[in-house]
C-alpha cells in the first residue's frame, strides 16, 4: 500500500495496538497531527506541556505494562520532552517518543526550530533513530516498539523530518524484524541457577533484595512464590514497592537511605544477598565497602552491565527474572525453610527495636498520617503516584502497597513535576481505580498546568499536596548537614492552591484537621473531577530513619524515641 510517512505513523501505532497517545503539536509534526485528526482508532490526549506528555506516557506504561507513546514537535517541543526521556531511561520504562524534525533539506542550516534531537537524546534513550526515507518508517517504528519493550526496557526516540512525513512510499508492517546485533538474553544459565540454589541452601542468613526489574518483568507473583516456599526474608527497593504485599510476614521493609532499621540491618548482617532485578544504586547501598560486607551475592538481571558493576556477584545470572525465578522454583526442594528460623527471629528483633513509625506530637497534622490514612481508606483501590521530596519517601514508607504496578514514582532521576502528569497517564490506563498523587508544595507547581488536561479529558486525579511551605527534602539536608542554613528553600510565599485548581475548572480543598481531610477526600472521590487537596502539615518534620549520604547502612539516624516508649 502506497501511503504518506504521516499515514505510516498512524498505521504503525494502530498495528501496535496503541490506544492512547500523549502529545503536543507544532510545525514539524503537523502532517502527522493531520492524520491523527482523520482517524478514530486511538485517542490523543493533549497535555499542556511536552514534559507532561512524556511523564503521562510513563505513568500509563508503568501501571499497565504496555509501551507508552508520546508525540511532540521539533526544537522546543523536543527539548521540553528531554526530562521525560531521561526519567524513563533511568527507570527502564518502555516508551516510544516520536518527534517532528525540520525537513531534510534544512537539516544543518540552523533552520527555524531545528535542534540536533538525536544528538541530545542519544545519552538518555535506549536507542534512537533519525528517519531519512519514508520507506524505512515501518521497519524503524516496529524496531522501536520491539526494542522499547524487550530486554531491559527503555525509551526509544524516533525523529522524523517533515518532508519524510509527506513522502509517499510502500507501507507494510507485517515484516520480520532481523536485528542481528540486538538479542536480549532471556533464559538464565541452568548451571548457574543450580549453583545459586545450592548457595541458598547452604546459607544461614540469606536475604532477598528485590528490585524494580521484577515489576518490569511482570515477575512479582513468581517472586512471591519463591519467597514463600523458601521462607527467606525479603527487602524491597523503592522501585520494587508492591512486589510483596505490605502484610507479607517475610517482607522486612524498604532498604536504603530512608529504609527501615530492620531492612538495613538485615542487609548488613546477611550472609547471602539474592538480588533480583536490583542495581545496587548508591541510594540503596550507602557506603559500598560496608554494604553486605560478609555476604556472597547472587545477582539475577536482564542487563549484563548491571551485574558486577558496583558489587561483585559470586553467582551472576543474566536472564529474564520471570524465567529465572520459575527455574529456581523447580529446585526449591533443596532449600529447608526451617534452617532460617533463627535468622527470621533476628530480623523480627530488629523490627521490634526500631519499628518504622512517626510521632503524632504536634497540633499540626503529620504528613505521614495523611499517607497512612489514605491507605486505610483506599488501600488496594487506588493507584499511587508521587512527586519528589519528603512526601515521596513517606509514601514509599507508609502507604500499604498490596500489588505490583500500584506505586508510580520517579526513582532514578528524581524528577519534581513527574507525579501529576504520571497520575493522569495512570488514570487513562486504569480508569476503574482511583488515581492519587501525593505531592509537595514545591513539586506541584512544576506541571500544575496539567489541571487543564485533566479537566478537559476527564482524568480525575486526586492530588494531595502535603504543604510544609518548604522544599522539604532540601530543607531537611540543610537542617541536618548545613547547620540549619535554609538557603532558598522557604516556600512561605505560595499561590492559593484552592483557587488555582478552581481556575482551571477543578476542585480545591484546604484542610488543617484530620476530620476535614477525611471529608475532602470523600468529596473529591464523589465529585469525580481533578482535585487539589492541600493539607497543612507540620513544617519541620524529617524523613527518618536516614542513612546520611555516603554512610553505612547500619549507621542510621533514627527517629527519637518518646519517653513513654
Amino acid at each position: 500500500m502506497q501511503i504518506s510517512g504521516a499515514q505510516m505513523v498512524i498505521e504503525s501505532l494502530i498495528a501496535e495496538g496503541v490506544e492512547t497517545v500523549f502529545g503536543y503539536p507544532g510545525g514539524a509534526i503537523m502532517n502527522v497531527y493531520d492524520e491523527i485528526y482523520k482517524q478514530d482508532k486511538f485517542q490523543h490526549i493533549l497535555t499542556r506541556h511536552e514534559q507532561a506528555a512524556v511523564h503521562a506516557a510513563e505513568g500509563y506504561s508503568k501501571v499497565s505494562g504496555k509501551v507508552g507513546v508520546s508525540m511532540i514537535t521539533s526544537g522546543p517541543g523536543f527539548t521540553n520532552a528531554v526530562t521525560g526521556l531521561a526519567d524513563a531511561y533511568m527507570d527502564s520504562i518502555p516508551l516510544v517518543v516520536i518527534s517532528g524534525q525540520v525537513p531534510m533539506s534544512l537539516i544543518g542550516t540552523d533552520a527555524f526550530q531545528e535542534i540536533d534531537a538525536v544528538g541530545i537524546s542519544r545519552s538518555c534513550t535506549k536507542h534512537n533513530y533519525l528517519v531519512t526515507d519514508a520507506k524505512d518508517l515501518p521497519r524503524i517504528l516496529k524496531e522501536a516498539f520491539y526494542i522499547a519493550r524487550t530486554g531491559r526496557p527503555g525509551p526509544v526516540h524516533v525523529d522524523i523530518p517533515k518532508d519524510v512525513t509527506a513522502q509517499i512510499a510502500e507501507f507494510n508492517y507485517d515484516i520480520e524484524l532481523n536485528l542481528e546485533t540486538y538479542k536480549p538474553h532471556v533464559k538464565g544459565n541452568p548451571r548457574q541457577i543450580k549453583k545459586a540454589m545450592e548457595a541458598i541452601a547452604n546459607a544461614k542468613r540469606p536475604l532477598f533484595y528485590l528490585g524494580g526489574g521484577i515489576i518490569n518483568a511482570n515477575a512479582a507473583y513468581e517472586v512471591r512464590d519463591l519467597v514463600h516456599t523458601t521462607g527467606i526474608p525479603a527487602v524491597e527497593t523503592f522501585m520494587a514497592r508492591g512486589t510483596l504485599s505490605c502484610d507479607d510476614k517475610l517482607l522486612v521493609g524498604m532498604l536504603g537511605m530512608h529504609g527501615s532499621y530492620a531492612a538495613n540491618m538485615a542487609m548488613s548482617e546477611t550472609d547471602l544477598v539474592i538480588a533480583l532485578g536490583a542495581r545496587f544504586d548508591d541510594r540503596v547501598t550507602g557506603k559500598l565497602s560496608e554494604f553486605a560486607k560478609n555476604a556472597g551475592v547472587i545477582h539475577v538481571d536482564i542487563d549484563p552491565a548491571s551485574i558486577s558493576k558496583l558489587v561483585n556477584a559470586n553467582y551472576p545470572i543474566v536472564g529474564d527474572i520471570k524465567n529465572v525465578v520459575t527455574e529456581m522454583l523447580k529446585l526449591v526442594s533443596m532449600v529447608e525453610s526451617e534452617n532460617y528460623e533463627p535468622w527470621r527471629e533476628t530480623i523480627e528483633n530488629f523490627a521490634e527495636l526500631h519499628p518504622l513509625t512517626f510521632h503524632e506530637d504536634t497540633p499540626n497534622i503529620k504528613p505521614q498520617w495523611v499517607i497512612k490514612r489514605v491507605g486505610e481508606l483506599l488501600g488496594d483501590n487506588a493507584n499511587i503516584s508521587t512527586d519528589v521530596g519528603q512526601h515521596q519517601m513517606w509514601t514509599a514508607q507508609f502507604y500499604p502497597f498490596t500489588r505490583p504496578r500500584q506505586f508510580i514514582s520517579s526513582g532514578g532521576l528524581g524528577t519534581m513535576g513527574f507525579g501529576f502528569p504520571a497520575a493522569m497517564g495512570v488514570k487513562a490506563a486504569v480508569p476503574e481505580k482511583i488515581s492519587v498523587n501525593f505531592t509537595g508544595d514545591g513539586s506541584i507547581l512544576m506541571n500544575c498546568q496539567e489541571l487543564m488536561t485533566a479537566v478537559e479529558k476527564k482524568l480525575p486525579v486526586i492530588n494531595i499536596i502535603l504543604n510544609n511551605n518548604f522544599l522539604g527534602m532540601v530543607r531537611q539536608w540543610q537542617t541536618l548537614f548545613y547547620n540549619k542554613r535554609h538557603s532558598e528553600t522557604d516556600l512561605s510565599v505560595q499561590p492559593d492552591f484552592v483557587k488555582l485548581a478552581e481556575a482551571f475548572g477543578g476542585i480545591g480543598y484546604r484542610v488543617t484537621t484530620k476530620k476535614e481531610f477525611d471529608a475532602a477526600l470523600k468529596d473529591a472521590i464523589e465529585k469525580n473531577i481533578v482535585a487539589f487537596i492541600e493539607v497543612k502539615v507540620e513544617r519541620f518534620e524529617n524523613v527518618m530513619p536516614m542513612v546520611p549520604s555516603g554512610g553505612s547502612l547500619f549507621n542510621m539516624m533514627l527517629l527519637e524515641k518518646k519517653e513513654s516508649e
Binding site: 538525536v118 544528538g119 542519544r122 545519552s123 535506549k126 536507542h127 533519525l130 531519512t132 526494542i147 536485528l179 542481528e180 546485533t181 540486538y182 542487563d303 549484563p304 552491565a305 558486577s308 558493576k309
Partner: protein
C-alpha cells in the same frame, strides 16, 4: 575504582550506519572512560565496521566498558583483546637539512622508510607496535621533526 589502570585494546564490530561512532564516543565521555586512540574503517563486503579503541582502566572499568559497548543496539561484537597483533603507523616530517641517512637507518629499525622527499622536507613512515612507535618518536627527537601524525592502533586477535 581508580586502582591499577591498565592499557587495553578493545575492538568493536558495529553496523555501519549514521551516528554509530557518536554512540560509542558519547558512551566513553558520558561514563568517564578514557580513549587513548580510536580507529575505524568499514569491513570489506559487509555492512559492518571495525573500531579499535585503546583505553585504560581498572579490571572493573574495562569489564564495564565491554558490557556497556555491547548494550548499544548497533554493536555486533566486542573483543577485549588479550592475545593480539597490534600495529600503529606514524608519519613524521623532517627538514631536508637533517641527517637523512641517520633518519633512514632509524626508520629501518622500526619497519619504516622514507615515503616522500620534497623541496624542504622529507616524510617517513613507520608501522609497528604502539610501544615501539613511542620509542621511535623518542629516538628521532634530535632530528627536529616538524610534524607528527599517528594513526592510532589497529588490532586483530590471533
Amino acid at each position: 575504582m581508580k586502582d591499577n589502570n591498565e592499557r587495553r585494546v578493545v575492538s568493536v564490530i558495529v553496523v555501519n550506519e549514521a551516528s554509530v561512532l557518536s554512540r560509542i564516543t558519547d558512551l566513553f565521555s558520558g561514563r568517564g572512560y578514557n580513549i587513548t586512540s580510536l580507529t575505524v574503517a568499514p569491513i570489506p563486503e559487509s555492512k559492518y565496521s571495525r573500531l579499535t579503541i585503546v583505553t585504560s582502566g581498572s579490571v572493573r572499568v574495562i569489564e564495564q566498558i565491554t558490557k556497556q559497548l555491547h548494550k548499544l543496539i548497533p554493536v555486533l561484537r566486542v573483543y577485549e583483546h588479550a592475545d593480539l597483533v597490534e600495529k600503529e603507523m606514524a608519519l613524521v616530517k623532517f627538514p631536508i637539512t637533517e641527517n637523512i641517512s641517520d633518519i633512514s637507518a632509524i626508520c629501518n629499525a622500526y619497519n619504516g622508510k622514507i615515503v616522500n622527499v620534497g623541496h624542504d622536507v622529507i616524510i617517513t613512515m613507520v608501522t609497528d607496535e604502539s610501544k615501539r612507535v613511542d620509542h621511535y618518536l623518542e629516538a628521532i627527537k634530535k632530528y627536529n621533526p616538524k610534524e607528527i601524525a599517528r594513526s592510532g592502533a589497529v588490532a586483530l586477535e590471533r
